[in-house]
Amino acid sequence: MEPLTRMAQRKRRGRFSGLSVYLWILPSLLLIVAIIFVPVFELFRTSFSEVTRSGLVKGWNDFQNYLDLFREENLLLVLRNTLVWTVVVVGVATVLSMGIALLLNRRFFGRRVVRSVIIFPWATSLIITASVWKWIFDYNYGTLNLILKFFHLIGANVYWLAQPSSSFPVLLWAGIFDTIPFTTIVILAGLQSIPDVLYESADIDGAGGYRKFAHITLPMLKQPLTVCTVLNIIYVFNSFPIIWTITRGDPLNQTDTVVTYLYKLAFQVNKMGQAASISVLSFLFLLFFSILYVTLTQERKK
């Protein structure tokens, strides 16, 4: 740095020293603390307290909310659904996105159009996309049954959304569809940052397509893949609108995940305490991934 600017900087630092520097982050900090951290605190407090039916929070109640929660008969089912939902949606979406990103990384006529269309589900409100899927999978009037019948793949209409054995896969598909855009864009950004030189020297060594993928592409994508997987786990776990629009978690909690279940506990059957306790457990689970994410992203910079 030039001596002159260093002098100028020292001068400024003098003027902006002391507590006034904190003014720069104060508005942001206040917003985050008041609207995110205070609710976190209130959530924990509610989970450890007796809550009256009118919503009044009384004192400490010896983990009663947690014990009640564990006695809910559908809890295990809901947890299993959540696990399947998160793992399948993130897993399948990542594999498909990898394929799509590899394709989009090549030159071809119409690439911009494909790239734009991929973005649609990301820009559209989740409840709108979910509504369309609900309509497409409709028993009587849905487009899917129409098409399948047209090609004689089914004889009679299929009740896609009536029983969990087929409605849960429909939810998974809607989830995968909505997860692909973000994942593809992140992987594509990663692919574009791989220097061509690496592939050129692999060509000289006579490496084939598969070996180039396994020994150059994948290792170079480690960082973006890890980051988008961790982020997707958090996003997909938290995803509420898709399930709420298509099945509402019905019938009888059969297609509920933790977030739709906690919504029902809190705002439909008035079990605030139990809703708070399952939220706390989810929060701790997500916090673990958040910390993992922060560690991973900050590591690279050192």
């Binding site: 985050i32 006529f109 409840i127 709420w244």
Partner: protein, 278 residues
């Protein structure tokens, strides 16, 4: 042999592109076609693929079916105010992260990063109670402040990224010309960071425009509902007015997609906190 292999790959590439194009435009195509059918045709057995009668009238009638103009203006107010608050708070914070060093700044940065991972749904119970304390349940102000808070992390992060790419020397020479830090920020740094600013602005606007879960929870008065919650009215008790639902959806989505395509290039780095290079 090599020639043949290249040919096959070439064909596969286009087949793949067509498949992706087909799958990803399919629901939107169905949305458009359904929005142009009349009620009789929607509930016809067997169903039709293309409308027999193109019912453009749906796009006129939808305004009278629900207080659509009210929902839209609510969504617009919520998204605009939330975006303004987010940026007013995020710009100085991002500036501090990019240009200054003081005790606690790192702690703040980690705090922001971690909140990027929180969503209103898991905090819903706590959030609902806190909104109650402030008298914000069933108000548009409540939606504004929550959207502003939950998008803070993204805005701070993308702005910090942009600020860091602009040489500090430019501001420093402005100081020598007599500007102070705040003037330097407004006259030098912000104009140069316009792409980052626009990206943050559009992204936060869209996120607030599309937000559903929290709005569903705290808003019960018809006049305060944003579009996402309002269109739930088309899901009636016994049937769904699909044609209007999709007509409204199209009107609500087209401008958003257009905005989104404009900023899409910058999103990967903002959302992954700079962990992915562009």
């Amino acid at each position: 042999m090599d020639m043949l292999k290249r040919r096959i790959l070439h064909v596969l590439k286009y087949l793949g592109a067509l498949l992706i194009l087909g799958v990803f435009s399919f629901p939107y195509l169905i949305m458009i076609l359904t929005s142009l059918k009349n009620r009789t045709e929607i509930f016809a057995i067997p169903p039709t693929f293309f409308p027999k009668v193109w019912q453009f009238q749906n796009f006129v009638d939808m305004w009278a079916k629900v207080p659509l103009a009210q929902y839209m203006s609510n969504s617009f107010v919520i998204a605009t105010c939330a975006t303004s608050i987010t940026l007013v708070c995020a710009i100085p914070a991002a500036y501090a992260l990019a240009r200054m060093k003081f005790r606690g700044l790192n702690a703040y940065m980690y705090l922001v990063l971690v909140t990027q991972m929180f969503s209103p749904i898991v905090l819903l119970v706590g959030l609902f109670r806190v909104m109650g304390w402030f008298g914000l349940v069933d108000t548009i102000a409540g939606l504004i402040i929550v959207n502003a808070a939950f998008n803070q992390a993204f805005a701070v992060w993308i702005l910090k990224g942009y600020f860091s790419t602009i040489p500090y020397e430019l501001e420093q020479s402005a100081w020598i010309d007599g500007c102070n830090r705040v003037q330097g920020l407004f006259r030098v740094l912000l104009p140069l960071s316009a792409p980052g600013l626009i990206t943050a602005l559009i992204f936060v606007f869209i996120a607030a425009w599309n937000e559903f879960t929290f709005a569903l929870t705290i808003i019960s008065t018809e006049a305060y509902k944003p579009l996402t919650v309002g269109i739930y009215a088309f899901f009636g008790k016994y049937d769904v007015q699909w044609q209007y639902l999709f007509a409204v959806s199209i009107v609500a989505t087209v401008p958003v997609i257009a905005l989104f395509l404009g900023i899409e290039k910058h999103l990967a780095s903002g959302l992954t906190s700079g962990a992915v290079k562009e």
